[in-house]
């Protein structure tokens, strides 16, 4: 085979002419991500209710026969078939045979329609001796027309999402969004020929050792990060002492409409972590500015060593230290001091009083992390050229002016970076609160993660499905925050955080 533009002999499997860099074979189009996105929507839709009860979600009641989807079809093989077709569809898109993927998505749709009209669905009416579920069966048509237990039923959100998913999956085949995001690296393609022209088999063989090395990492990631993601399906089930069964969006509805504890935890999460973030960053900036002014190096080193130290203590240790000095007895360090000075009459219970807990929490955070927070700022400050200061000094700028015009602008980027990095983690607030709170201060201290923990492990009748739903909500908000911060980070400093 010969290159069309320079007529030189081409190696086997060549895609790019090594001599002139011209494309030899037909260029493969970009991956049709929109279409894949459509398939994912269809997968999610298969877990959303196809038919749903019209009854109002009342606080405290768990309704029977609330929703129906693939998750409670009496012949689950239909669901597996549906998923299989989706997977085939995705594979076809990935293999750049997009047109055929339409067949797969349409076939999946047909399977779904058959399941919708042709099969019976389970209604869980109670438990049986032996710990099983007592079930009844119904068809969707029957329940739509006749209702069940006095409730009327309507078509659920799953149907609409399914149709949207199908449309996206088919339309996506014809839309190439990636081309807008692809950056031209500006490398002459003939230099790439060396790697691109090699056949896949050869490369796989060449890298076989690396795959082996990556295997342990891959297995661990799949088990401890991806397997739990599949567990998110429990958010659509009622799961008390085993035997999960499908309950549609009931948990999300209760959570968002009735659960005051959930909203309290959500509010606390935001308040605690954002105030903490602002305080910690503020103090860290001030301390690093002052620390930067110290000229005596041994003194500076010693101070640094001391202020970094608390960062390496666990929250349990911090709690134990603070509990000791904040002891409520009149002989406690802080309370004793305040009483002696005459500021208070009786000891304050800093860790068990809702009025003081948040303040105590912020102080503990400051004590633990402010020193460590200066590390980044100090690194930035040491990077500012001393010439700038000298020049400013000659111009007559005093210490304050130098701070305003030189130091702070140089620090600004780092401050924003630190802020964005931590903002992305806002939802993950857990151990610090978990260790230091007691149930007495739940109203100001309970955060989403501790709420999930408390509610799940409080007793034998806790609903794993519900707490999974709360966790899913947390992960979802967290995801939005991370992506938002990532976007902000790209705008501010040219690169993302993940």
């Amino acid at each position: 085979m010969q290159c069309k533009s320079c007529n030189s002999e081409l190696p086997k499997n060549a895609k790019i002419c090594p001599k002139c860099g011209a494309q030899v074979s037909k260029p493969a189009g970009n991956l049709k991500v929109i279409s894949i996105f459509g398939f994912v929507i269809m997968l999610i839709a298969s877990m959303l209710p196809f038919v749903q009860s019209g009854e109002e979600v009342l606080d405290g009641y768990v309704p029977k026969a609330f929703a129906f989807s693939f998750m409670n079809i009496s012949v689950p093989v239909m669901w597996y078939l549906f998923i299989l077709l989706l997977v085939v569809g995705v594979l076809l898109v990935v293999a750049k045979k997009e047109i055929f993927s339409i067949c797969a998505s349409v076939a999946a749709m047909i399977v779904w329609v058959i399941s919708y009209f042709g099969f019976t669905y389970e209604i869980v009416v109670g438990k049986t001796t032996g710990g099983g579920l007592r079930k009844e069966y119904t068809t969707l048509m029957d329940i739509l027309n006749n209702g069940y237990d006095g409730n009327t039923y309507h078509i659920g959100v799953g149907v609409y999402v399914m149709v949207i998913g199908l449309i996206v999956a088919i339309a996506g085949v014809f839309i190439d969004v990636l081309k807008h995001f692809k950056k031209d690296l500006g490398v002459d393609s003939k230099y790439l020929s060396n790697s691109i022209n090699q056949s896949l088999g050869l490369k796989l063989y060449y890298y076989r050792g690396f795959y082996l090395m990556y295997l342990p990492v891959l297995i661990m990631i799949l088990i401890f990060n991806y397997w739990p993601m599949l567990g998110c399906r429990y958010a659509f089930t009622r799961y008390v002492i085993g035997n999960p069964y499908y309950i549609g969006l009931y948990h999300f509805q209760t959570m968002l409409t009735n659960d005051t504890f959930f909203w309290r935890a959500f509010r606390n999460t935001l308040i605690l972590s954002i105030v903490k973030l602002i305080l910690n960053t503020g103090f860290a900036v001030i301390i690093s500015l002052l620390l930067n002014e110290i000229v005596n190096m041994p003194f500076k080193k010693t101070v640094q060593t001391i202020v970094y130290l608390p960062h390496f203590m666990s929250w349990v240790v911090i709690f134990s230290v603070f509990r000791m000095i904040l002891s409520v007895n009149s002989s406690g360090v802080i309370n004793g001091f305040l009483i002696n000075v005459g500021l208070i009459d009786s000891p304050i219970s800093f860790l068990a009083d809702t009025r003081y807990w948040r303040g105590t929490f912020y102080v503990m955070n400051l004590w633990k992390d402010t020193g460590w927070g200066t590390v980044l700022f100090l690194a930035t400050l040491s990077g500012i050229s001393p010439d700038l200061y000298e020049a400013a000094q000659i111009d007559g700028a005093n210490r304050f002016k130098r701070l305003i015009y030189i130091t702070l602008p140089a620090l600004a980027n780092t401050i924003i970076t630190v802020f964005i990095l931590n903002l992305a983690k806002v939802m993950n607030l857990f151990e610090s609160v978990f260790v230091t709170k007691s149930s007495a201060v739940d109203s100001v201290a309970s955060v989403l993660q501790t709420y999930v923990y408390d509610k799940t492990f409080a007793g034998g009748n806790s609903d794993y499905g519900y707490t999974t739903a709360v966790g899913l909500f947390k992960s979802f908000v967290g995801m939005i925050l991370v992506l938002g911060c990532n976007y902000a980070s790209k705008k501010v400093r040219g690169r993302g955080i993940v």
Binding site: G132, K203, T260
Partner: protein
């Protein structure tokens, strides 16, 4: 290259999604409603190997547990696989065991868990077995036995009430102990409180006098404002009086929420006042039983407490011993319930349950007859359950028992016994003290021995006297039937209740505000629960 990456992506995605989704959905459901057929109890055979899950009330492995297992196996010929989770995490373990489906054959459960698992269909109905049991027909049962077993009659998965557990002992309860030294310091004498029914105002006056005379910040330090199991109010009974913490059936036979009634509001006001007056320790919040006990034994006058409501019976003796060990004046007075309180409340006892796993394996009847029913056989097996293994925990041969000393130089204690005289041996875990009891507390067993209790002599007068006082002034708590709605909401409701109690007690909220907060947060849940409870009888 791009293409290959994409292909790999696809393969990976496929693998992950298929892997997980295959595990989805299909939940096993076998719904064969095998009604309990009548059993010929005389022909029931021994069950073969079975597993028993029990908390730390049976002698622990570190305390000669193996000797007890061997001794029991020798006596009964049963092959038992013992599952012994840590005592403090027992119910976590039980919950996760049931959730994972790997259920033991026999399990010891508290009344709450009994109701929960019975309601979910995990327990075996032992009504018939109990009716035909040797224990029931032996004539050795104490008079309260029927009442105690009645608490194990709960709602099953089939919607019928049945007996799902068996308690070989009564639940015991708490009574109030006052330090005689504190009374004297306040210018009072033991006779002012002993064997008398005080009124609340008299009692409160005494507490105030004690507070005035003491160097401590408080007089009473309780393990939490409210207990975690029924009867919830048992650590501060004089202050709660007739207030009900949770749902109960009132005189009209209707279920009501005790927490929102006026009696509870008055009780909260009393507690708030007592904390303000420095009677109750403001650190009571979240305190564990051991913390509260340590304050009772404290040698530091500023943290010592003088009045303590704690378990009756054996504990009456233990408290005295521990006080004496710390070098404090160990004279205690257990007072009668005050007039407004009427009676102390006896806790619902833990119960032995046979699970559906055993029933499925056809072992349930055998386990009942040869394991459960023999616990109180009035002979050797009952000895083993009450006192432990012969030769390890107790003995009746002629010998001299010498206790180890805690520190060098302490006085050596030794006791000499003649042949045939029952005596305890030093505890394997802590050789400085004698064994006290095994699973069944001898004073609490619901059936007596054939003839006299061989171990009766080992009980001190203090214990029996205290327990007699308690049993004549107490009443058994009534169990709350478990409905699904109750099970779903009780955690949230109790969270709100406890929050209100602690805030009101610490004067961070007035009683009215607390009640309003309670209604606002969980009012609708309370209504749902009440509705489910009241529709039970229909």
């Amino acid at each position: 290259m791009k293409k290959t990456i994409k292909k790999l992506t696809a393969v990976g995605l496929t693998l992950t999604s298929v892997m997980g989704l295959v595990a989805c959905g299909a939940s096993n459901s076998s719904s064969d409603d095998s009604k309990s057929k009548s059993v010929d109890w005389s022909s029931v055979e021994k069950p073969g190997t079975f597993s028993v899950m029990v908390d730390g009330t049976v002698v622990k492995d570190t305390n000669g547990g193996q000797a007890f297992y061997d001794y029991l196996a020798e006596l009964t010929g049963l092959d038992i696989e013992w599952i012994r989770p840590e005592h403090s995490a027992y119910y976590d373990q039980v919950a996760s065991t049931f959730a994972s489906g790997d259920i033991p054959d026999v399990v010891l459960l508290s009344s709450d868990y009994l109701a929960l698992y019975a309601n979910n269909g995990y327990l075996w109905d032992m009504t018939d077995a109990w009716e035909n049991s040797e224990t029931k027909n032996s004539g050795r049962l104490i008079s309260a036995a029927e009442k105690i077993e009645a608490a194990n009659v709960v709602l099953g998965a089939d919607g019928e009430y049945a007996m799902y557990g068996y308690s070989p002992f009564r639940g015991n309860g708490c009574c109030t102990y006052i330090k005689a030294s504190w009374l004297k310091a306040a210018g009072l004498s033991v006779d002012d409180v002993k064997d008398k029914t005080l009124t609340y105002s008299e009692y409160y006056d005494i507490l105030k006098k004690m507070k005035a005379a003491a160097a401590s910040d408080y007089v009473i330090s309780a393990p939490g404002w409210i207990g975690t199991e029924a009867p919830y109010t048992n650590y501060l009974p004089e202050f709660y009086q007739d207030a009900e913490y949770t749902f109960y059936k009132n005189a009209d036979g209707e279920y009501v929420d005790g927490f929102s009634e006026e009696a509870m509001q008055n009780a909260l006001q009393r507690i708030q006042d007592a904390v303000k007056d420095g009677i109750i320790d403001s650190e009571t919040e979240g305190q564990t039983t051991s913390q509260a006990r340590n304050k009772f034994y404290s040698t530091d006058p500023s943290t010592e407490s003088g009045v303590f409501t704690y378990w009756a019976g054996t504990w009456a003796d233990t408290l005295v011993t521990n006080l004496a060990n710390k070098g404090l004046d160990s004279e205690l007075v257990a007072i009668y319930p005050i007039e407004e309180l009427g009676t102390y409340t006896e806790r619902l006892s833990t119960a032995w349950c046979i699970t559906s796993a055993a029933a499925d394996a056809g072992k349930a009847e055998g386990i009942y007859k040869y394991f459960i029913d023999t616990m109180l056989d009035g002979g050797d097996v009952q000895m083993a359950w009450e006192y432990g293994a012969k030769g390890t925990h107790w003995d009746d041969k002629a010998e001299t028992v010498t206790l180890a000393t805690a520190k060098e130089g302490d006085a050596v204690k030794s006791y000499t016994y003649s042949e045939g005289e029952f005596h305890f041996l030093p505890s394997p875990e802590d050789p400085t003290t004698l064994m006290k009891k095994n699973h069944i507390d001898p004073v609490l067993a619901i059936a007596s021995f054939n003839g006299t209790d061989p171990g009766a002599k080992s009980l001190t007068e203090n214990v029996t006297e205290n327990f007699e006082m308690f049993s004549s002034h107490s009443d058994v708590a009534t169990p709350l039937p478990m409905t699904e709605t109750l099970g779903n909401n009780i955690t949230d409701i109790n969270t709100a209740r406890n929050e209100v109690i602690s805030k009101v007690a610490l004067n961070q909220m007035t009683v009215e505000d607390g009640m309003k907060y309670y209604k606002d947060t969980v009012g609708s849940k309370v209504e749902a629960v009440l509705k489910s409870l009241n529709s039970l009888g229909e």
